[in-house]
């Protein structure tokens, strides 16, 4: 199967802090991959490098076989990117914002209104036509960000923490949407929510200190609990801490 994303010995430093420490992995077409790890392990940096929002210091990042270098942007139309926190123009209304996203992503002029209308209806945002994005709740903002990420029908979906700060109903909505896209699109998702991720992904990359420490592929005969314990064991093994807080009684 065609290799879509390839990280090869990627190093990224922010001053003295090494965020990515020789990161290597690849994702094939149609895979749904979850990137899991503790806070500060380098998940968001990985997404930012993939989206060319930050430059990496050494190694290779390939997308569709082309190396990501500063200024290389043509591949971005194929990506549906959802960042954490999502980036908006807060003063725009959702429709205004989505119209511009369509123009930026070169969606066919005749399709723009149709796609916006269907997304607004499906995401249940139709009662807020004139409300500015900045005035929406974080759940609705996430829905708008998700609509903006998929409106141009991208081949690859890159979602950074799509479930953060959301209520149960919005989480359910987003996870159902991701589930419906599984096997149709290539998915690359980062999250702390292992329960949800085990339902959404077929492969899990466990990350720690800027490296992949475990690559777990789902097998048909594996139960939900088995996958979950494999993932949690991998994460916890790297982070055994003793609690020493006698003063806290």
């Amino acid at each position: 199967m065609e290799e879509i994303i390839n990280f090869n010995s990627v190093i990224k430093r922010y001053g003295k802090i090494t965020a990515l420490n020789g990161l290597s992995f690849s994702i094939k077409k149609g895979e749904s991959v979850g990137l899991i790890g503790n806070n500060g392990c380098g998940k968001t940096t990985t997404i930012n490098v993939l989206c060319n929002l930050v430059n990496y210091d050494s190694g290779n990042v390939l997308i569709y076989g082309n190396k990501i270098i500063p200024g290389f942007v043509t591949y971005k139309n194929k990506l549906g990117i959802l960042l954490s926190p999502p980036i908006f123009v807060n003063e725009f209304t959702p429709i205004q914002y989505l119209k511009f996203v369509c123009k930026f992503q070169k969606v066919d002029q005749f399709e723009i209104d149709l796609r916006i209308e269907s997304l607004i209806k499906s995401f249940n945002l139709n009662s807020f036509n004139k409300k500015k994005i900045g005035d929406f709740s974080s759940g609705d903002k996430m829905k708008i960000a998700l609509a903006a990420a998929i409106i141009h029908n991208p081949e690859v979906l890159v979602f950074d923490e799509p479930f953060i700060h959301l209520d149960f109903q919005t989480i359910d909505f987003i996870s159902s949407l991701i589930k419906s896209l599984r096997n149709k699109k290539t998915l690359f998702i980062t999250s702390h929510n292992i329960d949800l991720m085990t339902n959404l992904c077929s492969r899990f990359l466990i990350m720690d200190h800027g490296q992949i420490i475990n690559d777990i592929a789902l097998h048909e005969n594996m139960s939900h609990n088995e996958i979950k314990s494999l993932i949690t064991d991998s994460i916890l093994k790297q982070n055994i801490r003793s609690i020493n807080m006698d003063w806290f009684e």
Partner: protein, 187 residues
């Protein structure tokens, strides 16, 4: 890469939704410079209005800083040069209108000095367009300072004809950059 026209439309919409009242003030207030009463208080107020407009134009020019910092432009492949071009058109034209009307109609300055000031404003936009990357900031300052002094020297040592030539060269270069940008877009 997002086209120049889409970038311009985006910049216009952004400034309209974020600062429409200030935009209306900037665009409409230059008419007040035509008030032809030789009263000290009115002249003082008009000069203040002019200074206020310049400050407002500058602050609006920087208003999209957050979009640059949080990666919005980068995320959607909107090039910095196109954003700067769009902002230059949105604010450069009112800025030149303000300068022209207050200098020519209120202060009634000679055309040679007028051309010098407008040339320096044009030079400011041009150097920023040529050295759009932030890491070329020092080079930008050097070029702007060097050529501003050249323009000022031409004003002091020479006549109107040379100022017209300099002004024409700057305008031509601006047009050349527009053509270059649109060619790159097609390529």
């Amino acid at each position: 890469m997002v086209s120049f026209l889409t970038t311009l439309k985006f910049a216009l919409s952004f400034y309209w939704v974020t600062a429409k009242h200030i935009l209306i003030l900037i665009i409409s207030s230059w008419i007040l410079y035509f008030i032809n009463i030789n009263d000290e208080i009115i002249n003082f107020l008009l000069i203040n209005l002019f200074v206020l407009n310049i400050i407002l134009i500058y602050s609006l020019f920087k208003k999209d800083k957050l979009l640059k910092l949080n990666g919005f432009y980068c995320l959607f492949n909107i090039s910095e040069i196109k954003i700067f071009f769009s902002k230059s058109l949105i604010f450069g034209i009112p800025l030149i209108i303000h300068f022209s009307t207050i200098l020519l109609f209120k202060f009634k300055i000679e055309s040679q000095l007028y051309l010098t000031i407008i040339s320096i404003i044009l030079l400011f936009f041009l150097t920023k367009l040529i050295f759009v990357d932030e890491h070329l900031r020092l080079l930008r300052i050097f070029y702007f300072t060097f050529f501003s002094f050249t323009i000022l020297l031409s004003y002091i040592l020479s006549g109107l004809f040379l100022m017209l030539i300099i002004f024409w060269i700057l305008i031509s270069y601006f047009i050349f950059l527009v053509i270059k940008l649109s060619r790159e877009e097609r390529g």
